[in-house]
């Protein structure tokens, strides 16, 4: 897969588990704590739009753990009809959002 030009330095970080255009499902879990995965995308299927860098896990950072735990971030795109069943069926409109790797599973 083409990851050139996406700002990803594979040599210095762990390899992304997903590649551009992979179909992914957002895990449908409801843990207690600080999460940056909104409910409206949980359980939905999208496509990897772009591979981003690794960032401090916000779920730990929120509780003061600022060092050592980084997670891979991706941009995932969804067809609007996947998120909202009432969305106009002929539309090609999309929603794109950043999701951490541990919230993704192969679809």
């Amino acid at each position: 897969m083409n990851v050139e030009g996406l700002g990803v330095d594979l040599a210095k970080s762990s390899s992304p588990a997903f590649l551009v255009n992979d179909l992914v499902k957002i895990k449908n879990k409801t843990p207690v704590g600080h999460y940056r995965t909104p409910f409206y995308v949980r359980g939905k299927t999208g496509r990897i739009e772009r591979i981003l860098d690794e960032f401090i896990n916000p779920e730990e950072e929120a509780y003061g753990k600022n060092v050592g735990s980084k997670v891979r971030l991706y941009r995932v795109s969804f067809a609007q009809q996947e998120l909202w069943p009432e969305y106009h069926s002929a539309s090609l409109d999309q929603l794109q959002i950043e999701i951490s790797e541990h919230w993704l599973e192969p679809a």
């Binding site: 030009g5 700002g7 940056r36 995965t37 909104p38 409206y40 981003l52 860098d53 960032f55 916000p58 971030l73 941009r75 795109s77 998120l83 909202w84 539309s91 090609l92 409109d93 999309q94 929603l95 794109q96 959002i97 950043e98 999701i99 951490s100």
Partner: protein
């Protein structure tokens, strides 16, 4: 102790601003944490003041400069779309908060717009502080679900054959929209072009018009 009764206000004092409301819970919390950080020697009062000064110095004028440059310099545009932060820094616009800026280009096929459903993430280094409506729960909830209806309320009608890409700015990236350059602006200089670019066009809730005259009509 008695309160003097001759000064229970029924008249204004010209030039005197009313004191602010007493601190609320979060304002008090912020002040307490800030004072502790200063006492502990982790930050200084001057650093704190300077950071606010930097925040207040940013405005959509900077984003407009970036857009006008991208419209007039194809090589710059390529670099901007490849790495928004680095290209802005070329123009002297520092990403003081370490923000990773992604620039999405509007085309004849795609119209982009930005929202932060979880809070109010916003490309502050290039646009300054977000407008109140951007932080409003209605905008945050509706922009992802019915973007076309929301755009109409901003006076923006996107034809059905143009796809709308909504970007939920929910984590580490920040988004700036590169609007379509309006037709009939071929003769304008980069500076004149920058004058046409508005904040809302760079959030993606409107498009850039070839003239601001219409907007100003009726203000005379």
């Amino acid at each position: 102790m008695t309160v003097p009764d001759h000064h229970d206000h029924d008249h204004a004092h010209p030039g005197v601003t009313k004191d602010e409301e007493p601190y609320g819970y979060y304002a008090t919390l912020e002040l307490a944490v800030r004072e502790l950080l200063i006492e502990a020697g982790l930050i200084t009062t001057d650093e704190h003041r300077r950071q606010i000064e930097i925040l207040d110095s940013r405005s959509p004028v900077l984003g407009a400069k970036v857009v006008a440059r991208a419209w007039t310099d194809p090589e710059f545009k390529k670099r901007l779309l490849a790495d928004g932060s680095a290209a802005c820094e070329e123009l002297g616009i520092t990403m003081y908060d370490g923000a990773h800026l992604i620039v999405h280009e509007n085309t004849d096929q795609v119209h982009n717009m930005v929202v932060c459903t979880l809070c109010s993430c916003y490309p502050r280094p290039v646009l300054g502080l977000p407008p109140d409506w951007y932080k409003n729960k209605q905008y945050r909830a509706r922009a992802v679900k019915e973007p076309r209806a929301v755009l109409k309320e901003f006076g923006t009608t996107i034809p059905d054959e143009v796809s709308i890409h909504v970007h939920d700015s929910n984590a580490n990236m920040r988004y700036l929209i590169l609007p379509l350059r309006p037709a009939g602006t071929e003769h304008l200089t980069e500076e004149e072009l920058a004058g046409l670019v508005t904040r809302d066009a760079m959030i993606g809730v409107t498009v850039v018009k070839s003239s601001l005259v219409q907007t100003n009509r009726g203000q005379a």
